[in-house]
Symmetry: C2
Subunit: 323 residues, 2 copies
DNA sequence: TTGTACGCGTTATCAC
DNA sequence: GTGATAACGCGTACAA
């Protein structure tokens, strides 16, 4: 790959002059400028970004640490991040943790080696001290996406609020029994139960299916089939909703008549199902744009940057499965 | 971020000695070694990968150019590539072309700036001269994934063969009318028709629905509903299959009794549908492993590298939708 | 075993 | 307007 010195040699000028030309410095003889530019074009010159960064210049590299990019949700997020970053002039170094905390640390070592200007991360767990210790001397700004980590810059969807919206949706559709499928204790469940409570429905009347247990969908479907009431079910993500629809069908429970199902994430296939799956959409593009924006702000104008703790809101996409 | 020179200063040795310690060169006084290592650990030293590469050392960066990572198929591919690359000691610079050829060229400029050691690419179109001109002086080895580009290293699934397998599957299930949904002229269609032909079924008897036309699924479903025969339908990807299942349902066509549906890509949701969607699975992991392997071989042992043009084969995953 | 000197490609600071 | 020159962090001769 051709270098500035090489162009200088070929055009009989000094290397700094080449640098001036290529960086648009006006104080260069027009003739020389043309000669140099022509030579650079001819040889497809591209500046060595690595050498630049040796002089303390930014690398224009952003590390993006995800748990699992094969998950459609994170894949979409990655795409939005990549697009926002590209627009801001940054390239993406991608890393999957596969939900293994050790991988996360490994990632940081590697990203430091490449002197990335900043990192956007989706931690495996928000409560890991690796992420929470805000005082840790990091070599670059870090923005957390999809999770709230107090004391750090973060953009995330308010899952408790989402749970609450889900409850309101199911209540308004006339369901009179309720169930939640997900991980007991998670924010979506808390919000869901709280909203039911506010509407005079005791939390005990809401059955929770722990999706980490095999056969949870079968159990929940069976339970739904055996009851008189119409059950409104909120699942923690769309794949779980699909599995549940499948089991409900097997148990002869009609959707949305006997049971309503509301998923989460609004994966692309939702709209093609029979019945179409109602779901909740996270504002992915906004999340990505805010994350990149905050990161770039921290990088380029650190003094003007202010801490960011930005909850965004999911929205209900009502289709057939909730009537 | 601490540098070797800085460690040298703190430990009262010269910078090259630090270099020797950190690179495991044995000819260093054990005491000095300990002192240096301790200092390095204390300050979380990480070598500057960029400075290394300035001396002609590899960057250990691989460019990965995809059309659209938000597509579940490419997301999975990206994950497998990332895993293989990580194992081989490389990191990933990710870029989406969004199916825009100009973006592809842009990508190459950027990747050259970062002096990536090699690139794995999924071109928008295999016939673009940008990809086919094998003589183009590239600055790094390039491996094409998912598409065959004659004269270049490539790993891909044989789509014509896949079409043929699809036909055999549907024939064996007793369907006696056939349809293909996809882009007219694509390899899968060619293979599908050829295999039907070999089994005494004239290509004219196979209806092709052009998925680029709005309402194709409705048309195909209507046509299927109006016929006596049981129709075996092969779709170019699973999302199309989902849309079709939806329309077939609307037209009262029972699956798999009156129509069989075989998708392509085997996206994760397939198994949760009612009926479960039969599909064809591409060997993603193998494709990624071969691509990375070939690339690493070209990078690290260029003399031993031989051209690669490797067709892989998709396999039918028979579920309920084909009976 | 250790230190000195140099070069990689670039930017920046000087003189001229 | 232009060309020396130093500096960035590192590896590698070579010298001691």
């Amino acid at each position: 790959m051709i270098t500035m010195s090489e162009i200088a040699r070929l055009t009989n000028v000094s290397q700094p002059t080449v640098s001036r030309v290529l960086n648009g410095n006006p104080s260069v003889n027009p003739e020389v400028r043309e000669r140099v530019l022509a030579c650079a074009r001819e040889h497809h010159y591209q500046p060595n970004a690595l050498a630049k960064s040796l002089q303390g210049q930014p690398t224009h590299l952003l590390g993006v640490l995800l748990t699992d990019i094969s998950n459609g949700f994170f894949a979409e997020l990655a795409k939005e991040i990549e697009m926002s970053a590209k627009q801001a002039g940054y390239s993406i170094l991608l890393w999957n943790s596969n939900y293994e905390p050790e991988r996360e640390r490994e990632c940081f070592d590697v990203l430091r080696r490449y002197r990335v200007d900043g990192v956007i991360a989706v931690p495996c767990r928000a409560d890991d001290e690796f992420w929470t210790r805000g005082t840790d001397a990091l070599d670059f700004p870090l923005v957390i996406a999809t999770l709230r980590v107090p004391g750090r810059d973060c953009v995330y969807v308010d899952h408790a609020m989402a749970g609450s919206q889900a409850a309101r949706c199911l209540i308004s559709r006339g369901y009179d029994a309720f169930a939640f499928a997900g991980t007991p204790g998670e924010d979506k469940q808390r919000g869901f139960l709280a909203e039911l409570s506010r509407n005079g429905i005791a939390p005990e009347r809401c059955f929770t299916a722990d999706v980490s247990r095999d056969g949870w969908a079968d159990v929940l479907a069976g339970r739904t089939a055996s009851r008189e009431e119409r059950t409104g079910i909120f699942t923690s993500n769309d794949l779980q909703a699909l599995e549940l629809l499948n089991r409900l069908h097997a148990h002869g429970v009609t959707v949305p008549q006997r049971a309503g199902v509301l998923g989460f994430d609004d994966i692309p296939v939702s709209r093609y199902l029979t019945p179409n799956l109602s779901s909740m959409r996270q504002p992915l593009r906004e999340m990505a744009a805010h994350a990149v924006g905050q990161l770039v702000c921290r990088i380029e104008t650190p003094d003007r940057a202010v801490p960011l703790d930005l909850p965004l809101y999911a929205s209900v996409i009502a289709r057939e499965s909730t009537g």
